[in-house]
């Protein structure tokens, strides 16, 4: 690509969506089917998948005809890895010429969230995780604009309703929808919503909705031995035998 074309590609605003959720909840199933609906509506997509150790999501997206790039954090904190590669991820998606870039993240810890201010944020969770799951999941759910619940085909109506209620208690403003990753039921509607995601020209200077977990302790630096004498840096000791309050700090 010559320089002019390069500049044109990188200046072009693109719709951006972050999708977060626990492993195997149905993120790829839902996103791939929704990309097909977007394509029918004339909106092209590109997907970036952030994960820890391995994924076959690239094969799944390719099979669905969606351009995809995978980023694996390996030995690094997946949350920090996501934030430190976001500019480059966005630039890659711009180069594909896509109208809408969807970032699927898995392997982020429940304490974390990839959602950005000014960018449409989705959280996907499934109905099989038990009704306490919405409380346990934390900021990726609490700070989402849209919460999608999958696998409702496998549980009772009552469980779906109680689950939805618990989600509502954790996030009072999100749109909550049931969606089926197998049949694609609900993906048409989701495509209509994603087609309205704000378009952004760059992610540089954008802000995360939630600060990432503090790290930098000896274990971040590859320490493997157990014991207080090996622990340096950001270490917090628990007082066992005392009930700790949940930590939902912003």
């Amino acid at each position: 690509m010559n320089e002019a074309a390069h500049e044109e590609a990188t200046a072009r605003p693109m719709r951006l969506v972050t999708v977060a959720g626990p492993p195997a909840c149905g993120k790829t199933a839902v996103v791939a089917k929704t990309c097909a609906k977007l394509r029918e509506a004339g909106v092209s997509t590109a997907v970036i998948k952030f994960d820890c150790l391995q994924t076959r999501d690239d094969a799944l997206y390719q099979a669905a005809g969606v351009p995809v790039s995978v980023a694996l954090s390996g030995g690094l904190c997946p949350d920090h890895f996501f934030a430190s590669n976001l500019e480059e991820a966005f630039a890659w998606a711009q180069h594909t010429g896509a109208d809408c870039c969807i970032i699927e993240t898995a392997g982020l810890c429940n304490r974390c969230s990839p959602h950005l201010r000014g960018v449409m944020a989705l959280c996907i969770i499934d109905n099989l995780m038990g009704i306490d799951a919405p409380e346990k999941i934390g900021p990726m759910l609490r700070l989402a604009d849209l919460v999608l619940v999958t696998k409702g085909d496998l549980v009772s109506q009552a469980e779906r309703e109680v689950y939805r209620h618990r989600i509502r208690q954790m996030n009072s403003r999100a749109v909550i929808r049931h969606i089926n990753g197998l049949t694609g039921q609900g993906c048409q509607e989701l495509a209509q919503i994603l087609a309205l995601a704000p378009a952004v020209a760059t992610v540089t200077d954008m802000k995360l909705r939630f600060s990432m977990p503090a790290a930098v302790c000896s274990y971040c630096l590859s320490e493997t031995r157990i014991g207080a004498r090996y622990q340096k840096g950001n270490v917090r000791k628990v007082e066992f035998g005392h009930r700790q309050e949940g930590q939902h700090g912003e």
Binding site: N127, L128, G130, I131, D153, L154, V155, S156, Q157, A158, E159, E161, V162, H165, R166, I176, R177, H178, Q185, G186, Q188, E189
Partner: protein, 267 residues
């Protein structure tokens, strides 16, 4: 329980079939009436149901629109009902939670806004009693959800949905034969404040519905009500089902199993 979203009828305006031919009728579904949907797989039952579920507004392949109580839904109604208009009960569904039946149904009652714990427990007990009236074999309130038999959990799902579900429309995909008293289930559903639609291949369910809609090629091809001949047929079929249930019970309890006529009397 009274529904916040009380809706007495929904109307699906005439659309077009898969070949683009106009559908002959607007269809209206009301509370206090059970409608059966019939037609082979692929005939367009799912298309009709998804038009209802998504509050179709001429924006789906069928071109149908959904009216609530005869009116196009307002923006607020759309927002409140989206994804929640229809409660569904299909064959694949199971309880997956590790909780006692009473505890769980109480949590459901609480999620419906019954804040007083005693009132929530009382509402939950009603659901369990109603479920036990449908299930062949009763279960105790403290039974774990995952320990319920197929018939018991189906009965609990029906009773819970009829009495506690938020959604104004209930869609049932078949009621299996064994373990649930189908006609009692129909009575319970009729008494709920919901609009009830059953997709079924079962002759007893189909004939006991107030109206039957036959779907073909993506559109409604016929709307039928019971003729006197069908009424007589239904009575005989129902007797036969009762006979089967009695035979099942006799076998299960080791009672002497007598001749055919003891279970299936000729009218």
């Amino acid at each position: 329980m009274a529904n916040e979203q009380a809706i007495a009828s929904i109307t699906v305006t005439a659309g077009r079939d898969k070949a683009g031919n106009p559908e002959p009728w607007d269809l209206t579904f009301r509370t206090g009436e059970v409608v059966a949907l019939l037609g082979p797989t692929g005939s367009g039952k799912s298309r009709l149901l998804s038009d209802i579920e998504s509050l179709a507004d001429g924006d789906t392949p069928s071109g149908r629109r959904l009216l609530l109580d005869g009116q196009a839904p307002t923006a607020e109604q759309r927002f409140a009902l989206h994804g929640r208009l229809v409660a569904q009960l299909t064959q694949n569904m199971n309880f997956v939670l590790d909780m006692a039946a009473l505890e769980f149904v109480t949590a459901h009652a609480e999620s419906r806004g019954i804040a007083d714990p005693a009132a929530a427990t009382a509402a939950a007990r009603q659901v369990i009693d109603a479920a036990n009236a449908l299930a062949g074999e009763p279960f105790a309130p403290h039974t774990q959800l995952t320990q319920l038999s197929g018939g018991q959990s189906r009965a609990l799902m029906i009773a819970d949905t009829a009495l506690l579900s938020w959604s104004p429309v209930l869609l049932l995909d078949e009621i299996e034969n064994a373990g649930v008293d189908k006609r009692a289930a129909m009575r319970l559903l009729l008494g709920s404040d919901k609009i009830v639609v059953i997709a079924t291949h079962d002759p007893v369910l189909a004939l006991s519905a107030d109206r039957r809609m036959v779907i073909a090629n993506g559109a409604v091809a016929a709307v039928l009500t019971r003729t006197p001949a069908e009424e007589a047929l239904l009575t005989r079929l129902a007797t036969q089902e009762e006979g089967l249930a009695a035979l099942r019970h006799a076998l299960r309890t080791g009672a002497p199993v007598r001749a055919w006529e003891a279970f299936f009397p000729t009218p």
